[in-house]
Amino acid sequence: MTMHSGAKRSLLIAIVVAVALAPLLEWIVKTHSGNYFNGYYLGVLIDIAINIILAVSLNLINGHTGQFSLGHAGFMAVGGYTAAKLTLSLQAAVPVWAQPILFSAALLLGGLAAAVIGLGVGAPSLRLRGDYLAIVTLGFGEIIRVVFQTTDFFGAATGLPAIANWTNFAWAWSLAAVTVFVVACLVNSTYGRGFIATHDDEVAASAMGVNPVRYKVTAFVIGAFFAGIAGGLFAHHKRFLSPTSFDFMKSIDIVVMVILGGMGRTPGVIAAAIILTVLPEALRTFAEYRMIVYSLLIIGLMILRPQGLFTIGKGRTAKV
């Protein structure tokens, strides 16, 4: 995998900015609380970062590789529950200075758990074509929800309360930057051309010696991994997990971000993730129209602008 030094530098800058901004924002919230910037806005900023992780990772599956997954919220749930369970059971035993270590371990474990489940779901179902895959992933998302809803270990239908409030601006945005970086480097690498080839023409790709199933499964597992990390961040941000947070509608939310941004176009997807997080917050009073507008947006975009809203020109590239 080739790493572009420019991209590496921007990743470092993004992380440094995120880490530096975090105390500043928290200080503003503390001192000016209730004025122009309060905890609610900080929360929305963290939501944006989590949604960027989700959308960019789904974009690797749906956009770059061209496989339509409708179960991203399921992977998010696996990651969220795993991470939350780990921190809930260990946080009392861990001293304050070690909390970030526990948190990163929990996030990593959540991501890995989601990746393993992703492998389990992806390996058999990715032999299937588009619409079957959509249904299988949808079904998988449902199964995951049913399992969490009926397992007492995970709080069953009442959910997991009182999760530590560890997700802050620095964590969320640093990990968002890492996700964008990894996905971009992966897709732009020699190896990553295989994703694009699988997307463009499976038959031609396999004729050229690219194994489409392998690329699909890889994309699926990596996408699931980051969805799991987003789930861990989500759990420690909302401080409460319930199976209903990860229903079909959550998956659709992420899918809409990818479609709106333009499938396979990372900057567009990031823009869509930001807009689709901020807009519903800004338009709380129109909440009942949100899904109607979403659905019309999907239909209209597919008929008039299938390449997405935030893309200029027709060329389909994997460049970030």
Partner: protein
């Protein structure tokens, strides 16, 4: 043993409804090669059409009579047929030659649009409504078995409709044209078949079946809401895949199998919590071991 037959009857009645819905999925898939996600919402619209028609029809024909139930069902089916044709005309036809993924996403969009528009407070609202009794409900006892009259209605209706479908597809000119379009759309149009007309007809027929299935479903579970179509719709889709998508007898068989398996699994204490997952587990199983379905023929994609 008695319990076994009781469960079998319940399963058959449930499976018959799945079979009716699955026919719509499979017909549309056969002709256009994509999953019409909005099919389950047409089912819901059918139940709501019957709900709103019932008081009006009651003024003309005596309520609970066979004639009024038949009239309501036919009118609801006609309304849904028109809705189905409109959906195809407005949302799917502009995308006829686009990549399948585009059509699939549009279908999800149409489904969400119908669901959320109907949940809006100016339309049906999201609360559950009581579905009117279209026919008098009786329990018949055969030895220790209890057979609900609704179950009999469901089974008889399904058998009649399956036979009618078989006749339409196999023995009418339109049905022959449908099969031709399903086999090869381009060649069919070169043979002088009006492909657009056949696609519209297919959507109309499938949506009418969905409407009838929706009414039967509502009769059995007497509460309807704008999201009522999702669960039976998903199951029916799985049934269609189970039987081999694009294959009409397969859809019927898949529906029955799924209904029976689900009912039996629901009766086993440890499994009943996972009832929702069973259908999907079956789907994943069939896709791994026999992706063409029970009755489907494995096809090789031509390049």
């Amino acid at each position: 043993m008695e319990l076994f037959f009781q469960q079998l009857i319940n399963g058959l009645a449930l499976g018959a409804i799945y079979a009716l819905i699955a026919l719509g999925y499979t017909m549309v898939y056969g002709v256009l090669r994509f999953i019409n996600f909005a099919h389950s919402d047409v089912l819901m619209l059918g139940a709501f059409a019957a709900y709103f028609l019932a008081p009006g029809i009651a003024k003309v024909l005596p309520p609970h009579s066979f004639a009024s139930a038949l009239l309501i069902t036919i009118l609801a089916a006609a309304i849904c047929a028109i809705i189905g044709i409109l959906i195809e005309r407005l949302a799917y036809r502009p995308l006829r030659n686009r990549p399948k993924l585009t059509v699939l996403i549009t279908a999800i969009g149409v489904s969400l649009f119908i669901e959320f528009t109907c949940q809006h407070k100016a339309v049906f609202r999201s609360e559950t409504r009581r579905f009117p009794e279209l026919l008098p409900i009786n329990d018949y006892h055969f030895g220790g078995l209890v057979v609900n009259s609704n179950d009999i209605v469901v089974l008889v209706t399904t058998i009649i409709l399956l036979a009618a479908m078989w006749f339409i597809v196999q023995h009418t000119k339109t049905g022959t044209a449908m099969r031709a379009v399903a086999f090869n759309m381009q060649a069919a149009s070169l043979m002088g078949i009006d492909v657009n007309r056949i696609v519209s007809f297919t959507f109309g027929l499938g949506s009418a079946l969905a409407a009838i299935a929706g009414i039967l479903y509502a009769m059995k579970a007497p509460g309807i809401d704008p999201l009522m179509g999702i669960q039976p719709g998903l199951r029916a889709f799985i049934a269609a895949v189970l039987g081999g998508i694009g294959n009409l007898p397969g859809a019927a068989l898949g529906g029955i199998v799924l209904g029976v398996v689900e009912t039996f699994a629901g009766g086993i204490p440890g499994l009943s919590n996972y009832r929702d997952g069973i259908a999907f587990a079956m789907l994943i199983g069939i896709l791994i071991f026999r992706p063409a379905g029970l009755l489907g023929k494995a096809t090789v994609e031509k390049v």
